[in-house]
Amino acid sequence: MATLRDIKRRINAVSNTKQITKAMKMVAAAKLRKAQTRMTEMRPYAEKMNSVIAALSGGEGDLHPLLVQRPRRTIELLVLTSDRGLCGAFNSNVLKEAERSIAGWNAENFRVSISVVGKKARDYFKRRKVEMRNEWTGLSGKLVYSDARRIAEDIIENYMNETIDEVFIVYNQFRTVISQEVTVAQLVPMAPPESEKGGEGQEEASTVFIYEPSQQAILSQLLPKNIEVQIYRALLESQASEEAARMTAMENATKNADEMIGSLTLQYNKARQASITAELMDIVGGVEALKG
C-alpha cells in the first residue's frame, strides 16, 4: 500500500494537470468561436464565386487548363493537419485517411506526391521517410488569406508545368463541435461548379452575359482565385475542427482527472484511517503490556 505522503503527492499532481486541461479547454473554446465566425464570414464569398464561375463556364469544360482533365500520372495529395497536439484523434484521423488514399493510388500504379500543412503531418511523413514535395507550417492560430494564396500558387504552378496532374486535399471538415469528418476532395482539375440550388440558379445559367474584358480572361483570373478560396475554406474548416477536437479532448481529460482525484482521495482517507487504527492498536497494545 502506498504511503499517505505518496498518495497526497499524486493527488496534487493530478489536480495540477486538471487545472492545465481545464485552461486549455477554455482557450480552445474561445479559439473555436473565432474560427467559426471566420468560417461563416467566408461562406457567402465562396458561394457567390461559385455562382459566377458556373455562369461563366456554362457547362463547357475546356475553356481553361484548370478545367481540363489530363491523363493522370502523378497525383498530389495535400494533407491538412495541425501544428500542435493534444487534440484527440484529429491528426491521426487525417493521416490514416491519407495513408489509405496513397495506398490506393500506389496499387493503381500512379505516382503520388505529397504536400503537407502542419507540423504533425510533416513529422509523420518524415518519420516514415516519405518524401514531401512541399510543406507549410506555423499557419494555425494566425491563419490569413495570403497563406491560402501561397499554397494555391505553388499548386497551380506545379499543375501547369505538369509536375502533377491531379490534386486532392484531405482535411477535417467541421460538422458540429463534437463531430468532425475527414474529407477527401478534388481541387484540380476543377469540375465546373453546379450553380446554386433553386430557381434562381437555373435562371442565371440561362442568362447571356456580356463579358469584360472577355470570358477567357475573366476565367483565367477567377479559376486560380477559386482554388485559393477552396484551400482557404479547407484551412478554416480544419482549424475550427482542430479547436473543437481539442476542446472535447480536454474536457474528457478534465473529467478523467476529476474521477482520478476522487478515487485517490478515497484511497488517501482509507490509508489515513488504517494508520490511525494501527496507531491506536499500538497504544492499546502498549497499555495492555504495561498492565501485565
Binding site: 471566420r38 467566408m42 464565386m49 455562382s51 488569406y145 442565371e204 456580356i210 469584360e212 474584358p213
Partner: protein, 136 residues
C-alpha cells in the same frame, strides 16, 4: 422594371455592404462603368479602385481591391479580395504602406516589382478615397 439595384459587396471576411441603391459607379478593368437599374447582364473584372453608390441623396465610397462584378437587372454583386467603406479606411496604415512600397521600388533589385507596384497602387487609392470622405 426594376426601380432599385441591390448592391452586395462580399469579401473573404464577410459582407461589407448589402442594400438597395439607385446608381453604382465602379472601376472596371476596361474603364469606369456606371450601372443603373435594368442593366444588361454583365460580368467584369474590377481593378484596384473606387466604387461609389448613390441612394437618393446619399452617396458613399468604397475602396475595392481587385474583384469581379456580376451585374443583373436588379442586382449587383461585387466579389473582392478586400473592400472598405471610405470612413473605415485606416489612413495611417495606408500612408505607411505607401512609404514602404515607394522605398521598395527604389531598390527594385531586392524586391518583387509587381508586388511593390500593386502595394503602392493600393495604398495610394486608399488614401485618396479616405480624403474624399473628409473633403465632403
Amino acid at each position: 422594371m426594376a426601380e432599385k439595384l441591390t448592391l452586395d459587396i462580399v469579401t473573404p471576411y464577410g459582407h461589407v455592404f448589402t442594400g438597395e441603391v439607385d446608381e453604382i459607379v465602379a472601376a472596371g478593368s476596361d474603364g469606369e462603368l456606371g450601372i443603373l437599374p435594368d442593366h444588361i447582364p454583365l460580368i467584369t473584372t474590377l481593378k484596384i479602385g473606387m466604387l461609389t453608390y448613390r441612394n437618393g441623396s446619399e452617396t458613399a465610397h468604397f475602396f475595392v481591391n481587385w474583384g469581379y462584378a456580376e451585374v443583373g437587372p436588379d442586382k449587383v454583386t461585387i466579389i473582392a479580395d478586400s473592400a472598405e467603406k471610405s470612413e473605415d479606411i485606416d489612413v495611417e496604415r495606408a500612408r505607411k504602406a505607401m512609404q514602404r512600397a515607394e522605398e521598395r521600388l527604389k531598390q527594385i533589385e531586392k524586391f518583387d516589382e509587381g508586388r511593390a507596384r500593386a502595394a503602392l497602387e493600393r495604398s495610394m487609392m486608399r488614401v485618396q478615397i479616405a480624403e474624399k470622405q473628409t473633403a465632403r
